[in-house]
């Protein structure tokens, strides 16, 4: 009898805990104060970060502050970088998501059919005055409407150690000829001009090729072939061969990521790296140093068609079209990407603020100006990724170019054509 009573109590306890555990949290009061704007509203946020990363910590703090201010409850699910594997399926299945993060290229190209048109809310919030125009234009161009809000902008170019430039008395070069002269000066002063990891070899070469023939032509070559019959490709490859033969690459480059870029911090005698702005935080963190970083645009190649464009990308935030609380979701996005929290994100994660009126951390010096001046940002690998099937083989061939395996530009171009 006693056993039976105990069993009944345990079953009851289990049933209660199940009921509590499975109960909906969607419509319940937040308990964070009465009369607030979004009392009782729950927002589900799928993040591409993990909770222990600097970006994740800032997002969590901002969510807590937003909850405190508006009464909304924000449930954050930390999905990590593989969010792109699950978000399309989740959107198709109408998963309860109100805000999610991913790269803006994927958002505009792959998820646009499932997204809320943010145009009106953005106009009401005067968003255009607090954002980089280049990303908004790209998003509208890709999706046909403003489908996402920039959260973490990125910019590519040549990141360099200002102290080495000062020591050598070098001004920032703007043309390839000036750049080669600067490399020679650095070499003469005992420095190694350029770090390069194989992982970014195609980004480096893509930049150089873009300067000569432009991104559209690269995209066309990537999709259809014909590299060997393009004089610009041969010229670009010849110039890279000369660059390598002149000894301007750091010792061991192209190395295995991140060994070569780390030498900028470890040895502090390597001056530059071609990459996007996150390289700064990576090198600083990996080597526990604080280099005096600067950024300059990839130099113009004389006679080339694109003297100035820069790579720019961004992680962005979007709202599914079926969200029941789009305005609350949008307000939270604005809360996160402007003002105090955007500044905190930039400072904590050493990245470019989403709002140009905020201040870039010292290590990101020059990035806001570069992004503001960018009207038609280059894609990652400058069009080579338009052939998704062959991009891995392009990378392999380009790594071989930097390893000095091709004696002439023609040989390289023929090797690229042989991939088709």
């Amino acid at each position: 009898m006693k056993k039976k009573a105990v069993s009944m109590m345990l079953v009851a306890a289990m049933a209660v805990s199940l009921a509590v555990g499975c109960g909906s949290n969607g419509g319940g009061a937040s308990g964070s104060g009465e009369g607030k704007k979004y009392d009782g509203v729950t927002l589900n946020y799928w993040s591409m970060w993990n909770s222990n990363e600097p970006q994740g910590q800032v997002i969590q703090e901002a969510a807590d502050a937003f909850s405190e201010e508006t009464g909304a409850t924000i449930n954050i699910e930390w999905k990590g970088r593989t969010i792109n594997e699950m978000i399309a399926t989740a959107l198709q299945a109408n998963e309860p998501i109100d805000v999610f993060e991913d790269g803006y290229e994927r958002i505009t190209a792959q998820y646009k059919d499932y997204l809320y048109d943010l145009t009106e809310m953005a106009e009401a919030a005067n968003y255009s005055d607090h954002s980089f125009a280049c990303f908004n234009e790209k998003a509208i161009e890709g999706a046909g409407f403003l489908c996402c809000i920039t959260e973490q902008p990125q910019v590519g170019g040549i990141f360099y150690n200002k102290d080495i430039f000062e020591d050598c008395g070098i001004e920032v070069p703007t043309t390839w000829t000036e750049f080669l002269a600067a490399c020679q000066t650095m070499k003469d002063n005992g420095y190694q001009p350029m770090a390069l990891d194989g992982a970014y070899a195609d980004f480096f070469f893509g930049y150089h090729l873009d300067r000569i023939i432009g991104q559209d032509a690269i995209s066309d070559l990537a999709v259809n072939g014909g590299w060997a019959s393009n004089e610009g490709v041969i010229q670009a490859a010849e110039q890279i061969i000369d660059f390598v033969e002149s000894g301007y690459l750091a010792e061991g480059a192209p190395d295995e990521y991140p060994a070569s870029q780390n030498k900028m911090g470890l040895d502090q005698d390597v001056a530059m790296v071609v990459c996007a702005n996150y390289v700064v935080a990576e090198v600083n963190n990996n080597t526990q140093t604080e280099l005096n970083w600067g950024l300059f645009n990839y130099p113009e190649v004389e006679g080339g068609v694109d003297p100035t464009n820069a790579y720019a990308g961004a992680n962005s935030l979007a709202i599914p079209s079926y969200s029941e609380n789009p305005q609350a979701a949008f307000d939270f996005i604005m809360f996160l990407t402007q003002g105090e929290w955007d500044q905190k994100m930039a400072d904590t994660a050493s990245q470019i603020p989403a709002d140009p009126s905020n201040t870039a951390p010292a290590v990101m010096d020059g990035t806001i100006e570069t992004l503001n001046a960018t009207t038609d940002p280059l894609d990652w690998n400058m069009g080579m990724n338009d052939n998704a099937d062959l991009k891995a083989s392009f990378k392999d061939t380009i790594i071989r170019l930097f390893e000095g395996q091709f004696a002439t530009g023609e040989e390289f171009a023929e090797a690229m054509d042989a991939l088709y």
């Binding site: 399309a88 399926t89 198709q92 295995e256 099937d389 891995a392 990378k395 390893e403």
Partner: protein
């Protein structure tokens, strides 16, 4: 008896249903998808358009896919010969009555309990690194020049050696279990008849291990075909052709890689189907070639 049948059905049905839903359905769906033009894996069926064998034509026409198959074949053949030979050698040594057998067995198996990510990182950073890696440090101490172990020409082989190092212990344990099943009388009789250790190995151990060898070849084949993480670790940031294998090609095709917006779930399904066919083919060929039912002990 009737009651028993009902009971058996009750126990078996959940398992059968689970198998049908979680294994058979995805298999059939993947097979069907491979004949359709589909962008996203979970796109609604109404958006699929029939594509015939174009997905297969696309992947077989892709030099990157062919390279991935070549890499997988090399892992299977060269890695397989190396792994199974070394693990068999270790198994024979450890069952020959040497001292500290348990220690060596545990030490050789140890890499299997360490995360593959940690193992790959250790090989990349501490063994193959050009500046402070173990191999180049040794070479430099011998007065030789360092080698670019992770350069475009060497990277695949560097990855293979690292992978084999981790895999040997697993296959060694299976071989040990097989060797320990062989009755000691056979070895005693052979010793009395004057057979030396090598003869005992080739005339007794090896023939009686045929079933185990068959199992190991099948396991190795599956291991090779699902080779994903090592390839990803040896091509950081984005996929490289030197280390690409078909499952990575499948992943990139279906989901897109870094800053790639193109997805082709139909072609990805075609890669999956070809891999399934290869697994089945290997299984049948190994069963046909390696006979293990003619000996009893």
């Amino acid at each position: 008896m009737k009651k028993n049948r009902a009971l058996i059905l009750c126990f078996v049905l959940p398992c059968v249903f689970s198998l049908l839903i979680m294994f058979l359905y995805p298999t059939i769906r993947t097979f069907v998808m491979s004949f359709f033009k589909i962008e996203g894996i979970t796109d609604d069926v109404s958006t699929w358009s029939f594509y015939g064998v174009e997905n297969y034509a696309k992947i077989f026409g892709s030099s990157t896919y062919r390279k991935s198959m070549l890499n997988m074949g090399s892992i299977w053949l060269f890695g397989g010969v190396l792994t199974l030979s070394v693990s068999l050698l270790f198994a024979v040594i450890l069952t020959s009555g040497i001292r500290f057998k348990k220690f060596f067995r545990a030490a050789i198996y140890l890499p299997n309990v360490i995360s593959a990510v940690a193992m790959a990182t250790m090989w990349i950073q501490y063994i193959y690194n050009q500046d402070y890696g173990m191999l180049n440090t040794i070479l430099k101490k011998l007065g030789l020049e360092g080698v670019r172990w992770l350069g475009a020409d060497m990277k695949f082989w560097a990855m293979l050696v690292a992978f084999v190092f981790g895999a040997v212990g697993y296959y060694m344990l299976i071989f040990i279990s097989g060797i320990e099943r062989i009755p000691q009388d056979l070895y005693e009789a052979a010793t009395i008849d004057g057979a030396n250790k090598i003869q005992q190995f080739s005339q007794i151990t090896l023939p009686l291990l045929r079933g185990i060898i068959k199992t190991n070849i099948t396991f190795w084949s599956v291991h090779t075909i699902t080779f994903f993480l090592w390839s990803k670790m040896f091509s950081p940031v984005d996929t490289e052709a030197t280390t690409i294998v078909p499952v990575v090609y499948l992943y990139d095709t279906a989901f897109g890689g870094k800053a790639t917006i193109t997805r082709d779930a139909g072609a990805g399904a075609a890669v999956g189907v070809t891999l399934a066919v290869i697994v089945l083919a290997v299984y049948f060929i190994v069963n046909k070639v390696v006979k293990d039912d003619d000996l009893e002990f």
